[in-house]
Symmetry: C2
Subunit: 313 residues, 2 copies
């Protein structure tokens, strides 16, 4: 996928996605009848707005007096106009209660780009060759917390209640939207086991495609090393069949642990014996390109001179 | 989110998502008129099928003779029946050409769970308390390739054509659906620069939320260390404003490099001088829980004795 039409393109259309600006369609709606007029040359509610990559975005308003057939005629005229103007793509943002306009748009070649809660976004590629429009989110993110107590060498493990085959694993679950990896680990561990913990490092990243637990999308599963802040187990009755503190060496040898849990346990055993600096990815917070926001970056610990390049020849 | 209704739940409803099985709705459609009959007790095209978590899934067929009002009456009756039967959730899978049924469903409380290409999925939570249904994919995955030539100590860097501010960065882009991290890095490097390379290790993971380049979703950005297999640069005119081999120490000090590129360059310099084993995450392929498939797992190199636990006390 060409970055020209991926990240960059999305930056350009984002205002529409966020609904941060009003489109012609919305103006038509707020303007009353004008929003529902069907002028063959391209209805006012389909003027849209051109982004800096040559695509056009239309956000449909409340076109209560417009029937699907009139919409389709207007959209067909608009598509012809957009093609003649050299637009490379059309984006159609449809409030869920206006979804009667989706099938007519699909009949003209539009397909779903994504939908969430109360609106959907459709796209039509108008440029040369195959579509170069970027896709939507492709991965869910799951995080597991490996809570290890260095004093007792015990690690917190669970067996899910709703699994067909009971295997030992680390407590964990899906990240909430906007939630950092470490926060998901600490939250999920507490929700499942009642144990409070603190993020220490990222240990492992797993990528799995066509995941049955992700509507066929991909799954990114991250395992964090956590330090316990409490030890009393109060397992969630909905989630946990079994939950206990297990000797780390025992888990590393256990036959009834999932392959990724077994591998992580061996990594932790190596770290416990040789030093966790051998296995840890530390976290740093860096400023994002777009002002004001920050992101978390995980990598191997970097000696201070290299961080600043002070005294490094 | 409760795993009971997240990964587990999705495993149960996946057949619907994949369309691997026919629902009553589809049978109704294939059965012709029966699919369009509107019986008050709950139309045949709304029988759906119960999953093992107490939710009901309905896949709408081609209900050409059914108008939106009749659909809404039938759906309302079905919702009452599902509630009386103690169903916790309803899933409605709607082909894009049947989207006239979306607004009537929304009027009864359904909202979009997701949509892609030619179909959408709506959900209605029927259980006690707030919805515990799992969300859809939350992250896009971008991968950058840090192609470093140990012999010349030069690294491949680019400046994007469509960036408002020109900063040196590594070539990269979004993962295609189902594509492994390392494959994305090698593909994007070749598409942007014409340089062929080979995956060596994963260096860094970045998580960024409300990403302007991800329709406001989250972004997972991974940097891979690649070894060059060719050196001639043929920059993509659409994507690259500038592309060159730059001395690694120079990039590590460059003021006009993005923060994450600068940090990765310093990590690479440290690895080049002290040994890449200090900074690399190696990759292993392990069997997935569901038979037949495999996944890639990235973590610090694990000494062989710990991999097998042979001779480890």
């Amino acid at each position: 996928m060409s970055p020209l039409l991926s990240r960059g393109y999305l930056r350009a259309v984002l205002p529409w996605v966020r609904g941060a600006r009003l489109s012609a369609g919305s103006r038509g709606a707020s303007g009353g009848p004008g929003g529902a007029r069907d002028s063959p040359a391209g209805a006012s509610w389909l003027q849209g707005e051109v982004d800096r990559f040559g695509g056009v975005s239309v956000r449909l308003g409340a076109l209560d007096r417009l029937d699907a057939a009139a919409f389709q005629r207007g959209l067909q005229a608009a598509i012809q106009r957009w093609r003649s103007e050299g637009r490379v793509a059309a984006w159609l943002h449809v409030p869920i209660l206006q979804s009667r306009f989706i099938a007519p748009a699909a009949a003209l070649g539009f397909c779903f780009h994504h939908a969430e809660a109360d609106s959907s976004t459709l796209t039509l590629w108008l440029g040369p060759g195959p579509s170069r429009l970027p896709g939507y989110a492709t991965h869910q993110v799951g995080v597991a917390g490996a809570v290890f107590d260095e004093n007792t060498r015990k690690i917190l493990v669970v067996q899910d209640r709703n699994k067909l085959k009971n295997m030992w694993k680390f407590p964990g679950g899906l990240s909430e939207p906007g939630e950092d990896i470490g926060d998901t680990a600490v939250r999920e561990v507490f929700e499942e086991t009642g144990v409070r913990s603190e993020f220490k490092s990222l240990l492992s990243v797993r990528q799995q495609h066509r995941h049955p637990g992700a509507f066929g999308k991909s799954d990114m599963y991250l395992i964090c090393r956590l330090q316990p802040r409490s030890f009393a187990i109060q397992p969630c009755p909905h989630e946990c069949l079994r939950c206990q503190w297990m000797d780390l060496a025992e888990l590393a040898r256990a036959a009834d642990a999932t392959p990724v849990t077994s591998r992580a346990a061996r990594l932790l055993l190596y770290g416990h014996r040789e030093g966790f600096d051998r296995v840890d990815l530390t976290v740093a917070q860096l400023p994002a390109a777009h002002t004001g926001s920050f992101y978390k970056l995980y990598h191997r610990a970097l000696p201070d001179p290299y961080k600043t390049m002070a005294g490094v020849d």
